[in-house]
């Protein structure tokens, strides 16, 4: 019983944290309109870092 209450409190805290996380309705709608956008930006950032390192190794 105590464990269930503790888990409930932890979940409520998580919900409050998520509600404050700045993910607005517009933000979510933008993702539903362009589902691949965030993934593309993420993968581009990762490959830019790799490119930076490879350029340094090759050309100094």
């Amino acid at each position: 019983m105590i464990r269930a209450i503790a888990e409930g409190i932890a979940l409520a805290r998580e919900l409050v944290k998520l509600a404050r996380s700045g993910a607005s309705r517009e933000d979510i709608q933008a993702r539903l309109a362009d589902p691949y956008g965030p993934a593309r930006r993420l993968v581009d950032a990762a490959s830019a870092t790799r490119g930076k390192l490879e350029r340094y190794i090759k050309h100094g």
Binding site: A23, I28, P35, Y36, P38, L42, T49, K52, L53, I57
Partner: protein, 130 residues
Amino acid sequence: MKHWLAFLCLVFVLACAFTDRVVRRAEDGLDLGQKAVDTYVEAQIAYCRAKLDVQTEEQRALCTADASALLSKTEPAVEAAGAAVAAYWSARSVHDEASARRALRDLAVAVEKLPPEYFGDVLAALQRFR
């Protein structure tokens, strides 16, 4: 009966809103983690540039070996996480909730391979979905 159905609909809508926010938080964590990795790589490049005994390609590769090792670890996981994020929003945009749940689980599995010192926020956001 009507009230019961309304309650079930409300629970369903709230559950979708909850997972949307979890994925948004995970995206932010992935962005932050990737920026931290980029900062580390830049710092290592700057350190190797400042060293006088690092002149050849082999020496530069050796000097930045730690950065290369870190990227070998993070790059595939970030790509897998990106694919899962795309799959999640695609599924949600066509109201395919079963595929969205699967994508969320895939995302949680993909981020498990990321180093917690850079991607701690993502791991915390997806802890419940592993």
